[in-house]
Symmetry: C2
Subunit: 196 residues, 2 copies
């Protein structure tokens, strides 16, 4: 192997292993600009995609959309717990405003193709998002994925126009990390790989 070959391997592995979840509350401005976001989404588009169904789409939530999202978070909380305290309501509300860029990742399972089962489609969304996260990491942009019960409510579907057959899977937050991630321990290869 040449030095260049070795360097590429080292950079790739460093990229993959240094990507960490940074919670939205630890991501601050500036976030990526529109041109950078386009580059991240272009990375997402390079994901494996059986039969080219492109079984996903993304919403970038601007100010008005975040306002709507905060109302969804509060309403979903009150549906779950009508006695929620003012502090809990405020926590739910401000979640929608954390991190300079907030994206909703949606699995679109509507295509009629029996050769590509649902799981393959959701898997493809995972591939797309991993590309996006790594492309962000290469640019020193911090990222975090989040989810929660509100994501799967009719309120959410209605607020963001999800069609039947579409499923919001997670939020992607992007920004400048205020601190580095906690460096989570990863499973040992022997724990999840079996050689037959």
């Amino acid at each position: 192997m040449t030095d260049d070959d070795t360097m590429l391997i080292e950079m790739c592995d460093a990229l993959i292993h240094s990507r960490q979840h940074i919670g939205p509350k630890h991501l601050e401005a500036p976030g990526p600009d529109d041109e950078t976001l386009d580059a991240l989404f272009a990375a997402a588009a390079a994901a494996p995609d059986h039969h080219q169904l492109r079984p996903w789409r993304f919403l970038v939530l601007g100010e008005a959309a975040r306002q709507r999202l905060s109302e969804v978070f509060v309403a979903a909380l009150l549906q779950r717990d009508p006695e929620a305290l003012p502090d809990q309501i405020e926590d739910a509300r401000i979640k929608a405003f954390r991190g300079p860029v907030l994206i909703l990742a949606i699995a679109d399972l509507r295509a009629d193709d029996p050769e590509v089962p649902t799981f393959e489609r959701v898997f493809s969304l995972g591939c797309a998002v991993q590309n996006l996260l790594l492309a962000a990491r290469a640019r020193d942009i911090g990222s975090g994925l989040s989810s929660g019960r509100a994501l799967h409510t009719p309120l959410m579907r209605e607020a963001f126009g999800l069609a039947e057959g579409e499923h919001a899977v997670c939020f992607i937050s992007l920004g400048t990390p205020r601190r580095s991630g906690r460096g989570r321990a990863r499973p040992a290869v022997a724990d999840f790989v079996q050689r037959l």
Copy 2:
């Protein structure tokens, strides 16, 4: 930005955009050795994994396992089409022997955790596999994902000891590409991203 910053971005984007599906029949020996495979699986283990459920595992199929797989492929074909012709049967059989390394990617949905829905778990498998494919690409190892109806049969589950709650999602083939991929056109960002 320094030159190093720019180079990291360019290498990352080149890695992501140059990864292409290479069909197993176009992957030849040598495949990655055990040490290299371990590095690829370590990359997989760095995937986002909500609540650290590690909702996936992988089987590396050696000679005996491929023999078993070929029998599953043939039996699944004959269940679907009892009149399959000898050529079709032979096609089904040899599929199990293509590519120097063959891996089965399994979603393990057994953990009891209502905060991490099924789709998030399958998504995590997609992230893990994308890491693996990119780590392979950095090493000039060709890769392809494949699936098919046999994957979801009771025959398959039994032959490879899949538990209830486990789902085989795809095969990953690795090897030396005999030719480069077809350079598939990718969806335009504007087609799958909406700014609200």
